[in-house]
Symmetry: D2
Subunit: 449 residues, 4 copies
């Protein structure tokens, strides 16, 4: 059977606030969406702790995955209309790749769990490996549906996601500097946060994108639309993804899980709900079923149990997380880094375990970079196609991109309890400590007093 054998006579749609409609033209896509594995994505927020800062952004990975699928579908349609291959070597689009492209787009995040970034940090899970597993292991519903196309199809889909699929046009559609994944989340996160930063000119980009023999490129006439995308992405990082209050909530989450890890390791009691759900991960030995049982609600329910856990630090961190009491933050740099131990000491003296109540966190972004063969996981560069068919690397022709290429933007933050900034505290005894602490801070930065 081929993917197109299950083409629907009449399209089906999902209402979507970002694209108005998401169009489904194949029964296989419907069936993939209806699996428990995919429905689970409704219970995993796209932005994690950032939704605690941008209250509008409570959307889940479910909508994002549909969105990546939809953009991929539009690219396929555009390629088929305007760049349809007529011979194997012409470097144009072969529409028989549509099936593998659409399935990979839909499933690229299927292995994501709740609060992914922090969870993986503490438990050493890996959502990419789990994605591959869900797609290729024979006991998943996803796998069964994909196999309707061919025995080999699940592996092909997984290989698009891990970049090893031979057709680089398909791979770069899903994963490259300008791919359907990024294009969707910038638009979607922008819509839900209520900011305009990520609102780059999607329609224009989707009109200047084109296939060539080694992947995806853009017509040079659309260079400004590509610049717009790069700046838009940069703004989203600076304004949304790197927001200090969101990073602060993530640090609380991290420290809470770390504390639980330490406590549970010394006490293998499995009677509580929390231990039952998390023990496989504390023990670093979990099944796919155990992994798929987790979602935001389950983790939050565990944290709620910890509000009453007989450990002051764990219960306090659980309250801070669930009731949204972020740590404060200040910037520091290489010249003031050496003051951190002193500040941690003051915080400890003021009654906070500095291991769990302070954190450092840097958020740096490289707006654009050209290919670096030294880099293991190098970002690929963006190529533009000139009227005569020759490619040119973006920063060679864009003054704007050349200006910011290789420049690093972002900052390093030190996080601590907001009590340290108190002006008049009840507990008079700590006042001198607070004042000393505050003497190290000016203009939201650590300074040498």
């Amino acid at each position: 059977m081929s993917f197109n054998d299950e083409r629907l006579e009449k399209e089906k749609v999902f209402r979507d606030p970002v694209y108005k409609y998401i169009y489904i033209e194949n029964q296989i896509i419907i069936d993939l969406i209806n699996t428990p594995e995919f429905q689970r994505l409704r219970r995993v927020k796209q932005l994690g702790t950032a939704s605690l800062v941008f209250h509008g952004a409570e959307h889940s990975r479910f909508g994002h995955c549909l969105g990546v699928y939809e953009i991929t579908r539009r690219i396929c349609n555009y390629f088929q209309r305007n760049y349809s291959s007529t011979s194997p070597e012409d470097g144009l689009w072969n529409d028989e790749e549509r099936g593998v492209a659409l399935c990979a787009a839909l499933l690229h995040d299927i292995g994501h769990g709740p609060y992914s970034h922090t969870f993986e940090h503490i438990f050493h899970t890996n959502h990419e490996e789990i994605t591959t597993k869900i797609i290729t292991s024979s006991d998943s519903n996803i796998n069964k549906i994909l196999k309707r196309v061919s025995d080999d199809f699940p592996k092909q889909v997984a290989s698009v996601i891990d970049h090893s699929y031979p057709n680089k046009q398909v791979v770069q559609m899903i994963s490259s500097q300008i791919d359907a994944d990024r294009m969707d989340y910038l638009q979607r996160d922008s819509y839900y946060t209520g900011t305009s930063y990520g609102n780059f000119d999607l329609e224009r980009v989707l009109r200047v994108i084109r296939p060539y023999k080694d992947g995806i490129t853009f017509e040079i006439s659309g260079m400004h639309a590509v610049e717009d995308y790069i700046l838009s992405r940069l703004q989203m990082y600076l304004q949304i993804y790197f927001h200090p209050a969101s990073r602060s909530m993530e640090e609380i989450l991290d420290h809470m899980l770390e504390r639980a890890h330490n406590l549970y390791s010394s006490n293998q009691d499995e009677s509580s709900f929390a231990s039952k759900m998390l023990m496989p991960f504390f023990n670093n030995s979990f099944t796919l079923k155990e992994y798929l049982a987790l979602d935001d609600g389950v983790l939050n329910t565990i944290f709620a149990q910890w509000r009453d856990y007989p450990d002051d630090i764990l219960s306090d961190l659980a309250n801070r997380f669930l009731d949204r009491k972020p740590l404060k933050s200040v910037s520091y740099d290489d010249t003031t880094k050496n003051l951190l131990p002193k500040l941690r000491e003051l915080i400890q003296t003021a009654g906070f375990n500095s291991e769990y109540y302070t954190a450092t966190n840097d958020s740096y972004n490289l707006p654009y970079d050209t290919y670096d063969p030294q880099e293991a996981n190098s970002k690929t560069q963006i190529e533009l196609m000139q009227p005569n068919g020759e490619l040119v690397e973006l920063s060679e022709v864009s003054t704007l991109v050349a200006s910011i290429s290789g420049k690093i933007v972002g900052n390093q933050k030190f996080f601590f309890p907001k009590e340290m900034l108190s002006a008049d505290q009840n507990i008079e005894i700590f006042q001198p400590i607070y004042e000393e602490f505050q003497s190290y801070i000016n203009n939201d930065e650590i300074i040498n007093p």
Copy 2:
């Protein structure tokens, strides 16, 4: 102290996708938002099961409450600018009412729990009573903050919400045919579902609204904006709130909780997580703390536990709910109502317990109605103010509203497992039953075959 004593020197804001910014001008509002009671609203979805149909609409009651506050604030500003009272009896706006209006707006939904409608149906809880309790009982954080204004202030705020507050302008701002509550949810649900229906002309309505001695009215010059609002509201009910797939998921939820209720009543084992959380409600004796411990995540976690419960019906319903397998539905009316027992019988014969696998559900809406003194909980009518200051009831001057006034729109649906519509089922034995069942259905309606 008065509310204004804690006025902020510089406004604070929340980014909001519907209004761009929500403006906070008073420390009390900030502190109310930062309570655990209010933060809990982040974990309760605004639309419940409708988010399973409109995947974009995963927003929580947190944003809605901020939105109702913001609209109320804008109305206060508009009234203060244009209709400021200069003598007690002039029927204009006295800005000293602002504090109670803003707090009531912010807190009007504070007692809402997860899947409210269904939960209240099964457990006989009442979110309005709980709202009052949270505001007035001395052990809530909300209450402590409100008391900063005056000992009496919490009661005043609660009385706005239960409509007994003497100033009807304030009451109607929060609760009437066109109030800040409805104005926010129509806009917000429209934004998140990605439909345009609820997108009435808010700015225009907020420019023709005005106080008078007995409450809130609208300038007659803005009649079309009020018509637009009524039609917009009607469309949202027909298209979003009454969507059959959403109602179907709600029936599954209802039947699942009912089944659990029945099972738990006969088996008072409190060892499981699910029983611990729900037993107070099954026993109809719960504390405020127990109520506030519930949220969407907790309930979903309980349902996930039920996937493995040793009762086929409960575990199957839990799977259907979490994996989103809605029942099918057909319309019926008074002439075909008598066929329902026959259909239920066929469903039972096909192997489904018809008590748990079928449901009827009607969704009717009265687009607009004038005042009916007979009605216990009568909808109030909408008044318009003419240039000479006299009021006229809306349907007397609007041909459009007169046309639809008192007309009932909506439908009655019968829900059943989609297996009943199967064309070719593996289990040959049920085929004749399916065929008989299907002979009662034409054009998605029950018919006499």
Copy 3:
């Protein structure tokens, strides 16, 4: 040659604020747009005097024509994807009709002149006849391009516009109760005025539209989207198209042209610029070239010349029109109509020629009506297709549409100089006349004092 022989290898686009992009897939469409006849539409405002009330709405017929083309193109694509005909009698869509549909959509307004409605009223021109002439007369550029398809093609295109084309699917796409023309102008005028009324759910309507053997119908599952369209259209009429200030400016324009007609008839001097341009129309004998030489700028330039014309009424009306000094208006009905002569008399006494300084104007709209075989130019009804393929008339199934069907909404206005409402005028002598006049007005309506 066929239309598709000039299909472009790669689509071309126009940036459009309403649809983001308008897609051109055929060289003939490009060439039609590039004719002087079509470019002239840039110089004719879509909304005429309404742009003097809604200052944002200064858009021209050029964009509207592109928009009607684009909606038609999308309908063709949707039909081709989902309802492609496989046999001549199956009532589905034959994509060979695409060429004639697209050209008719693009050109349906090509005969419109400046301030059409008023101009036609005074000069008895007819934009529909002129549209036909431009398409079919051999000396137009439009005609030459259309003939590239076939000698008969221009006539076919014209016959779609005058409803005589045999394929009713094509005719109704361009002209029916829900056609591409209305769909575009509601959206476009809504966008440019900055109101949300016309912003019906276009995407949804374009997903439930479908061909049948006698024309265009809609799936019954999309009934609410059709209701939404009808209400949206109604709101646009009530709020935008019937706005009293706009109708007032139109009356000034009408009276100014009438005055000029009277003056020029008695004085056939052709030396001035104004007479040179308008004389063919005053004389009711004009060539196509003379007609096409007119646009908004030319007429406004003529009016500017009239500012200095040696006739007090013409020069004053020209100033009022160009400097935007609308007449005031009040409503009247059948019971107060008899007072109009009295009011006109007072106005005349106050020094205004009542023939040129007063007007009556009614604006009534029938929100929806079923087919009436008695009516010469009857509105067609809207049909919905049920799951079993049978059609049902909209108001039979929609409570909402049934409610408003046949109801007339709108009003009658009497227009007069705002001086009549003066409170304290310098010229004491007129004060008693003003006061008497004002005694006939209450709540913006004429009353019996």
Copy 4:
């Protein structure tokens, strides 16, 4: 009298697509808008020839002026709410400046004429001088209204516009790197062109703007919003304002006016409409009344007359302009500039007068620059205020702005008739010339063949 003596008891509004409503709170503002001088702005397009490329962007300077007023009003409100001055030297906002600020904002473009840029180039008029004249000369309606505030008020308003007003907060509100003028046109032009580039985060910028003793600054916490504005502005220049087709139409306009100038200079016949209107400008001696008689419609009407002028070049250029037949363009740089004479020679040989049928035009933009005391008309830099009240120049803290500061973006274009690119022309004799011409072009650039 003071400005506030005419404060309206109830606000009036204009519907506006960009800001929903523009709020008028003072009778003086209403009266200024109702002058013939201000109403004339309805007949002058904001974007000139760019509306021939972006067909949606047909909006006039009228809406822009209202928009600049509205943004200024919002800034005043924000300053009054959050930064109200309590002593003369505190560097905060004194709300008595509101009147002069609002009037200057509204009137800042009152002297603009049709196709300003080109018109001024050919006729050496100056819209800034005319603005001052309209405001200060006693025979304008504008002046009479302003004088109601005080005899000195018109001069104060004019001095804000020419930057000599002593309060720099007011001056910079209307004219600086981030002023109400730019903020409006970026948003407005973005809305009407249907592009998203100019859609920077206005609400955010309006929340971080603040007064200080020497003008306007921004809180450092809003740095990213300011960066967003700078990039947005840059994109609008690159994508919209510098669009080659628009520049090409401007060159045709320029050459047409130049040709007319040459023809009229040698033939002082004043009988035609065109000469009557333009002669004062050809003769460089015009009255304010003659200037104000011009608008887009009048100029286009003159050009339409020239279609039949007995000079091949003038009539052909008029046709090209009105029927929108742009010249083609290619880029060149310092290394290929020397080839331009050769290309002009080929064009002349092919039958086009190269003086009128070719042009060069550069469009360069400096995204951001710090203060340069050498520059006569230097751009001012942007300052940010740190938490401790000290200012810091933007590019010192923004990696992004530092990267692009001082970088020049844009290009140089050579324009020529598109006939030169013909592949197969009827007139065989020119074919070798065309081919030679084309050999100098590759990838839309001039090259050394």
